[in-house]
Point group: C2
Chain length 230, copies 2
């Protein structure tokens, strides 16, 4: 089951806390994107998540949840992506909350569906950076070293370079990807058209496209063909 992510080049990330019409959702789900990821940094509830999942389930593409709040975990997703934020001083974002969650719900956790993501949070203005007090002011070599911790020490299947809200420094992403051996590099942040999609896809394994969906659907959909035609 987890192996399916290896083929994913493009993911649309939907925020349950934001509105999307049925027509838009249909266009997104039939766009040719490889998967839908449902999640966000704030306002995520069980209700809005289950509602969005049931709407996405009308379509055939895989749908995964990125878990940020335990009370919003909904059964029935294909996979559960588990962020572990690496560039923070507070261990709760790396392993602490995970330990607490496992202690409370361990007996009902579908381990075979869990995909841990080694997050490197790089936009200081993003909600997740503020929440985790991430050390975002990092040199290329620092980001690369975090990627190697995730890949070579923690054996995480995904290294997620996250610029949420801004288009990142592609040189940083490129170097990080070159330094890892087994993990898949996810890039997210500021992809808003064909050009940025192609640029990000050139230095990562998988691009995640989110915010632009809520601002310019046509531009968002163009990111799929940009990647797929590579």
């Amino acid at each position: 089951m987890k192996e399916m992510i290896k083929d994913w080049k493009h993911i649309f990330k939907l925020d349950p806390d934001r509105q999307m019409t049925d027509d838009t959702l249909e266009a997104v789900c039939l766009s040719g994107s490889d998967a839908i990821m449902i999640g966000g940094s704030s306002g995520i509830t069980y209700e809005n998540t289950v509602d969005l999942l049931s709407r996405v389930r009308r379509y055939e593409l895989p749908c995964v949840q990125e878990v940020s709040d335990l009370t919003a975990v909904v059964p029935g997703f294909d996979l559960y992506m588990i962020p572990m934020v690496l560039n923070t001083d507070h261990s709760r974002w790396i392993t602490g909350l995970h330990q607490a969650a496992i202690e409370e719900y361990g007996y009902m956790i579908p381990w075979e569906l869990l995909v841990p993501e080694g997050y490197i949070v790089l936009n200081p203005d993003s909600t997740v950076a503020k929440l985790t007090e991430a050390n975002t002011d990092l040199e290329e070599s620092s980001v690369t070293a975090y990627a190697q911790v995730a890949d070579k020490l923690m054996n995480l299947p995904i290294v997620y370079v996250e610029y949420s809200g801004a288009f990142g420094d592609m040189a940083i992403v490129k170097e990080a990807r070159q330094a890892i051996s087994n993990a898949q590099l996810f890039y997210g942040g500021g992809i808003c058209d064909e050009v940025t999609a192609r640029e990000a896809a050139g230095v990562s394994d998988t691009i995640i496209v989110g915010n632009i969906l809520y601002r310019d659907l046509k531009a968002a959909l163009s990111t799929v063909s940009a990647v797929k035609s590579e």
Copy 2:
């Protein structure tokens, strides 16, 4: 190379900061123990480590370094064990120091020889607990959850339950071991004779015997046969 640890049931841990005569070292190295681990929490230098390594190298058993101080890393060990302390609030002990080390020395790191250990530090009076400000006051279920973070999320090859200086609660160790699937459970702390060795070996995959070597050699050597005769 890393696979060799899977067969290890007994390890003697030697502290480079403590004296050991040639006769004692010979008895330790010919005891039938599976490996020598060199390391400690304080007073470890390049000089005392290289000295001890060269003395152990006269014998055939594998010799690994447990890395606690970068300035004391010595080339020529069979493997390098990399502690990642899980039950602390400070991310530097989980991934932070590792990231800094990789950033500085990444180009010369022999990745294929690195074995990360997910440490759960449980004796509040131990040097390592004080240094890392470990949260040692944990229920069985909390320790188990940390073990599962190491095993199932971080995919670490070793979960190391560490009571350094005291003999731990074997019920805790047993539950942690039963909850993990792939990782090997190392137990260390307070093993001082055949009885404690056998008890610890009954609930773990590998026991680590250290301090008693410096107090009662005969008792220390008896821990090998206690494990091997199982």
